[in-house]
């Protein structure tokens, strides 16, 4: 069955779902501000009031299967970060500040948005240094810049490692950049790396922009725009009705969308990844393939051990601070033996807490909010988003 959903806001401006605000003005959707006790209390309430329909739903969800990446690629359009770049173009005046940051959380697309922006504005794109250069604290990559340069760094987290030489090199670069000695530029940076550099180097004074948080409705519009014409009918497992609103904006499982937005702290990239990880198709013995696609709200928190030890948390934190790392680099930023580090990383990967992207390991989308909350509870430095 072909898709019947249509994007209610497909013709919106380039900034739809990607409006920018300053980092200080970022406010996550309301549900995320509920503290752990409130969440636990709600969970107890849900457990107490568990009805037959819930049990039936759980049984039905057990029969569903995760679609292959190939099928997902046919049903879903890839996330487009050009609107974020356009929003940046509208908002940013390169001449006004020597440096401007675009901050997004993991999966937030700052690197691709900055690349789009650099192409559109004709900026010199500064590539990340090699691993050897990173380990030696080499800063020759910035020598090509002068006071007249106009440049862009898509992902600042790729330009340093949390080591003494890494900190010294990125500090020198940022100090020179903020003084205007390197001309004017725009820097894309992961929100965790930014939080770390803000503490370790000090980034006060440089404007920092970030996409506004999405609520359930805006997220529904964004998801609807990413469904390809080949996508089967998308139903919510909770209501057994369409997940997304129709062209007039009516219908849809607003509660599921709001919860997805809250679980992802209103971040579009994270929500997009979590949405894909939550899609299920009927099992082999059920309905024919391509008949219907189910959205099942997935909870990644279960993958996290409740008594997570220091080693495990330090590995997770190091990966977040660097926007994901390979094993070699991970061993360079942790005070453990290589064996211990890799063993812990493997354990987390097996549990589904980590996933591999572009040969780097990073926290899986479904586990991100749980990991962030756990780290915050244990007094680790967390991002502002």
């Amino acid at each position: 069955m072909a898709a019947t959903q249509a994007s209610p806001h497909a013709d919106d401006g380039p900034g739809a779902g990607h409006e920018l605000s300053t980092l200080a003005d970022f406010v996550p959707p309301g549900l995320t501000r509920a503290n752990q006790w409130q969440r636990s209390w709600r969970a107890v309430g849900r457990w107490m009031s568990r009805r037959e329909s819930t049990k039936a739903r759980s049984a039905r969800e057990q029969t569903l299967a995760r679609p292959s990446g190939e099928r997902l690629a046919r049903w879903l359009l890839p996330m487009d970060w050009a609107p974020l770049a356009q929003a940046l173009q509208q908002r940013l005046d390169l001449a006004a500040h020597p440096v401007t940051f675009l901050i997004t959380p993991p999966y937030g697309g700052h690197a691709l948005a900055i690349e789009h922006f650099a192409d559109a504005e004709g900026l010199t794109r500064l590539a990340a240094p090699s691993k050897t250069a990173l380990l030696s604290g080499d800063i020759t990559w910035m020598h090509s810049l002068s006071a007249q340069s106009r440049w862009a760094i898509p992902a600042l987290e790729r330009h340093f490692l949390r080591r003494v030489d890494g900190l010294q090199s990125v500090r020198e670069f940022l100090e020179r950049a903020q003084s205007g000695a390197l001309g004017s530029g725009v820097i894309g940076c992961d929100s965790w790396s930014y939080a770390y550099l803000q503490q370790a180097v000090g980034l006060d004074g440089a404007p920092a922009l970030t996409p506004r948080a999405l609520d359930g409705k805006a997220l529904g519009d964004l998801l609807a725009a990413r469904l390809s014409p080949h996508c089967p009918t998308l139903l919510s497992s909770r209501t057994q009705a369409p997940l997304l609103p129709d062209a007039s904006g009516a219908g849809g499982d607003t509660r599921a969308l709001q919860r997805l937005a809250a679980n992802c702290r209103g971040h579009s990239g994270l929500a997009w990844q979590s949405f894909q990880a939550s899609l299920r198709e009927p099992g082999a013995d059920d309905q024919p393939p391509d008949a219907v696609l189910w959205y099942v709200l997935m909870q990644g928190d279960a993958a996290l051990p409740a008594d997570a030890d220091d080693t495990l948390l330090l590995v997770l934190h190091a990966l977040l601070l660097h926007g994901g790392l390979d094993d070699d680099s991970l061993c360079q930023v942790l005070p453990f033996s290589r064996h211990e580090t890799v063993h812990t990383r493997l354990k987390l990967t097996r549990r589904g807490v980590l996933c591999e992207r572009e040969r780097r390991f990073q926290v899986a989308p479904l586990c991100y909010t749980g990991v962030r909350q756990l780290l915050a509870e244990r007094h680790y430095l967390v991002d502002a988003l």
């Binding site: 949390r162 003494v164 900190l167 503490q199 220091d310 005070p335 244990r378 430095l381």
Partner: protein
């Protein structure tokens, strides 16, 4: 004379019939059970909590036990003794004599235990130094406080020390515990560079707790320069890992920069301690 004394004695105590004995037995049994349950339950709960909640829950252990004991005494004493002013004075007088002569130190420790439950100079989870013993408080009992040292030795220290010994509490019921890593360098070096490098070592430590000051202190000595990094780990239990990490990486950075350690004369050697 004898009859009068017997009459006075009889007035002090109630007749303990079978009902009174059963009540006393029930109170005793319930007290023991409640103490065991509260201690195990609160310890179980505290070990599953983190941060401030863990310390607060641990702190409830001795207070809860004290309350249970006081409640048991309040229930039991009127059953055994007629609650009149004269009887109470007589009872306290006798108890005071016994305490004064036989159990002076023991009772002093018990009373200090009561004081420690109220004043809280140490709580489970605190890192304290008492009479040269440094470690984590694991249990605050009625008479002693159990401290586990970094070498995993359990040391039972009587509360009696509370009266006349200085008690150093490194985190005082909180999660902030300052650590110090010391470095003794040859006098010929660029001090400003060393200070920045040592600060960067702290800022790149995986154990560092941000939001707390990171300070490098330098002190000139006849034999060279004594540097200290003062910073806070994420959790007090990480203090030895944190200091080790600072030490190992600082040595590597200083060595790579060609900075030599000071060669201390034997009489100038300082005790290697994590706190100063």
């Amino acid at each position: 004379m004898d009859d009068a004394a017997t009459g006075q004695y009889a007035k002090l105590f109630n007749d303990l019939d079978s009902e009174a004995l059963i009540t006393l037995g029930v109170v005793l049994g319930a007290t023991i059970l409640l103490i065991i349950l509260s201690q195990r339950g609160l310890n179980w709960l505290a070990n599953r909590l983190h941060g401030q909640a863990r310390f607060r829950t641990f702190a409830l252990v001795p207070v809860t036990r004290l309350l249970i004991l006081v409640a048991a005494l309040v229930i039991s004493v009127p059953i055994i003794i007629k609650p009149s002013l004269g009887n109470m004075i007589a009872l306290l007088g006798v108890a005071g004599l016994a305490i004064g002569f036989a159990l002076k130190d023991y009772v002093s420790s018990l009373i200090a235990g009561v004081v420690s439950a109220v004043e809280m100079p140490y709580r489970p989870g605190d890192w304290v130094e008492i009479d040269g013993v440094y470690g984590e408080v694991k249990h605050v009992g009625l008479r002693t406080v159990d401290v586990v040292t970094a070498d995993d030795d359990l040391v039972a220290i009587p509360h009696l020390k509370l009266w006349d010994s200085a008690i150093y509490n490194a985190n005082n019921g909180g999660v902030s515990l300052q650590c110090v890593a010391s470095f003794y360098l040859h006098p010929e070096h660029e001090a400003e560079w060393v200070r920045t490098a040592l600060r960067d070592v702290a800022l790149t430590s995986a154990y560092l707790r941000f939001g707390k000051p990171v300070v490098v202190v330098a002190e000139e000595q006849p034999w060279g320069t004594h540097y200290r990094i003062r910073a806070y780990p994420l959790d007090p239990r990480q203090q030895f890992d944190f200091v080790t990490d600072l030490t190992v990486r600082s040595k590597a950075v200083l060595s790579a920069a060609g900075i030599r350690p000071a060669l201390l004369p034997p009489d100038a050697a300082l005790p290697a301690r994590h706190r100063h």
